[in-house]
């Protein structure tokens, strides 16, 4: 697209919005994290030292990143085939599928999370079903487990995985599949050698969105994970609101941000590489 020299005022509102509501709060957060005491009098990196030298804290960080990874993998395993089906579906069916895929985005994440509480609870749908067909005698604990969090996060973030995958698959010239077929490759080889690599940019973008969304999903993590499962967003909330330790909460936030940013940068670099390979 051609850029015009006089176009810059158009980006001014967004730039201002971004500066006031993202950059400034972020800078404040950074500044707060650099106080050594809860009354914000002495500067220092004591909060970071405290976090990074404590086994429990590092465990929370590791658990958060790990759960995010599991949720992303699950969303990928479920979302890629769904995206594939939607991408190859005839137009009429594709419209229906797209609507179904996008529909969850139109309801609040809180509502979707409560749906999972209802589904997985002691008297929930899953336990009821298992009891009805005689597989279990007493309700099993599904809610308030790490796996429940992974499943709920994957489902809630699923549209963010499926939409980029559909876009990437839709951008692949169908003649490439035909060419592969005409050269004697079966469906599986065509998928592995042509379709999958060419959809990699969309797949990686989806993973990034789901991952970033999952590690910071305070509501879902808290409501489905319960009190026992300590993850970074909840840890922040607890330190800031309950313990009134703003500098430490800010440091937790900055560390989570840095960790996710590092992962995003790595994945983005890989994505760029595959993109230049695919789109030139």
């Amino acid at each position: 697209m051609r850029r015009h020299a006089g176009d810059w005022p158009l980006v001014l509102p967004l730039t201002l919005f971004f500066a006031v509501f993202v950059l400034v709060p972020l800078a404040l957060l950074g500044a707060v994290s650099l106080y050594s005491d809860t009354t914000l009098t002495t500067h220092g990196v004591a909060q970071y030292v405290k976090f990074l030298t404590d086994r429990f804290n590092l465990g929370v960080l590791g658990q958060t990143l790990w759960l995010g990874l599991l949720a992303t993998v699950l969303a990928l395993v479920v979302g890629y085939p769904l995206g594939y089906i939607a991408a190859v579906a005839p137009p009429a069916l594709q419209r229906v599928l797209l609507l179904v895929i996008v529909l969850p985005l139109l309801t609040s994440a809180v509502v979707r999370t409560f749906a999972w509480v209802v589904i997985l609870g002691r008297q929930g749908i899953v336990n009821g079903l298992l009891a009805a067909i005689g597989l279990i005698d007493a309700p099993v604990r599904l809610l308030y487990t790490p796996w429940a969090v992974v499943v709920a996060l994957a489902q809630i973030q699923l549209p963010l995985m499926v939409l980029p995958v559909i876009t990437a698959l839709g951008n692949i010239d169908p003649n490439l599949r035909h060419a592969s077929h005409a050269l004697g490759a079966g469906r599986w080889r065509t998928f592995v050698a042509v379709t999958l690599p060419l959809s990699a940019p969309g797949l990686l973008a989806g993973c990034l969105l789901v991952y970033a969304g999952s590690v910071s999903a305070f509501v879902t993590q808290t409501l489905v994970g319960g009190g026992q499962l300590m993850l970074m967003p909840q840890y922040m909330y607890q330190q800031a609101i309950q313990a009134n330790n703003y500098p430490f909460a800010a440091a937790v936030a900055m560390i989570l941000l840095a960790a996710v940013l590092a992962i995003v940068i790595v994945v983005n670099t890989v994505t760029k590489k595959t993109q230049t390979l695919v789109h030139g």
Partner: protein, 370 residues
């Protein structure tokens, strides 16, 4: 011989056959019909293509020529009729097993693979040994004169180079029939001629039966041994380029291929066309019953005559010098225009000149019913 036995023996082929020793096989299309929903895309097309022949499917967009090519390739299953390669019916076989190699209009090179990986793709898919793949890829790249480009990616190549690679990729699996979908459509004019010569060279060298889809009549007439002119899913005429050009079977062929003047009128007993603008003697063309007719005359078959000879009077509107030829746009008394071409000679005519137009002696004239 169109039985199941022929199907297994003739339908399959092995990568071991050397592409350079490919011998042309006959290709028969027998009553091919295809419908998309309620639309008939191809209707009752029967063509017999001789071994080693290059045939062009020529027609306007939407005439069914690409659909027909996809049916021959095996990418699309026809609603009715049969495709036979070398006498064996291949309707049930996928593209590679029926020995059809297709080069797509946009080449469809795998963008994430090098030239060498693209060319070797078909051989890898059928599990050829590594050494043989390397050897064949090298030979194929030499065949299309792309030896130095093995490690490049498709996007690093020009359109013509991409087409060479696409040809090499298709030929690497030794197809018995080569199918080209609008092969030169994406190339600019200078490159197009080079690639047309290149494709013709390869086709001759390999003696491979080839079908080419095109909407470019010059391309069809210059490259093909025979041309099938298609319209509305049907073949209007199948013949040598000179037959198509000089003896069009239908008014559609006459107007679609080359430039044609269409005159409507009544054919009189003495072989004269009586039209609104005057009377034009058609010479010996009186095989058709007299009455209302449509007559098609090529611009180069008209000539200007002196007033003593019979002909149609008109006035020159425009003069377009095209190198060795000059095209005159002549407006007749009833307002219709004729295109007349003649060699650029000493007698130059200017717009506004009054002229009398007649048929050059012995010119082919096509007379159709109204």
């Amino acid at each position: 011989m169109w039985g199941p036995a022929a199907l297994t023996s003739a339908g399959r082929f092995s990568y071991k056959e050397s592409p350079v020793t490919t011998r042309g096989v006959a290709l028969d299309l027998d009553g091919i019909t295809h419908r998309f929903g309620h639309t008939v895309a191809v209707e009752g097309v029967s063509l017999r293509i001789e071994p080693g022949e290059i045939v062009a499917l020529l027609g306007p967009s939407g005439c069914g020529k690409t659909t027909l090519l996809r049916i021959v390739s095996g990418l699309l299953r026809q609603s009715g009729g049969h495709v036979a390669v070398d006498g064996g019916i291949v309707d049930e076989l996928p593209p590679n097993e029926r020995g059809a190699g297709i080069v797509f209009q946009n080449y469809a090179l795998f963008p994430h693979m090098t030239v060498e990986a693209n060319v070797g793709y078909g051989l890898r898919a059928r599990g050829a040994p590594r050494a043989e793949i390397a050897e064949t890829v090298e030979r194929m790249l030499a065949l299309v004169r792309m030896e130095g480009f093995a490690r490049r990616l498709p996007r690093q190549l020009s359109g013509g180079q991409q087409q060479r690679v696409a040809l090499a990729r298709t030929l690497a699996v030794s197809p018995r029939v080569l199918l080209l979908d609008e092969p030169f459509g994406a190339l600019d004019k200078n490159l197009r001629l080079d690639m047309q010569i290149e494709v013709k060279r390869l086709q001759r060298e390999l003696d491979i039966t080839t079908i080419m889809v095109t909407h470019d009549q010059e391309e069809a007439l210059s490259l093909a041994d025979r041309v099938a002119v298609m319209n509305h899913g049907r073949v209007e005429q199948f013949g040598r380029p000179d037959e198509i050009y000089d003896r069009p079977a239908t008014l559609f062929v006459a107007t679609f291929v080359g430039t044609t003047n269409v005159l409507r009128g009544k054919l009189l007993d003495d072989g004269t066309l009586d039209c609104a603008a005057g009377r034009l003697p058609l010479g010996a063309v009186t095989t058709r019953p007299t009455g209302p007719v449509v007559v098609a005359v090529r611009p180069e078959h008209f000539r200007f005559v002196v007033d003593a000879e019979p002909g149609i009077d008109g006035r020159i509107e425009l003069v377009l010098p095209l190198g060795p030829l000059v095209v005159y746009d002549v407006i007749l008394a009833d307002g219709t225009t004729l295109k007349v071409t003649s060699a650029r000679g000493a007698t130059s005519r200017a717009p506004g000149d009054r002229v009398r137009v007649a048929l050059a002696a012995g010119s082919p004239v096509s007379v159709f019913g109204p």
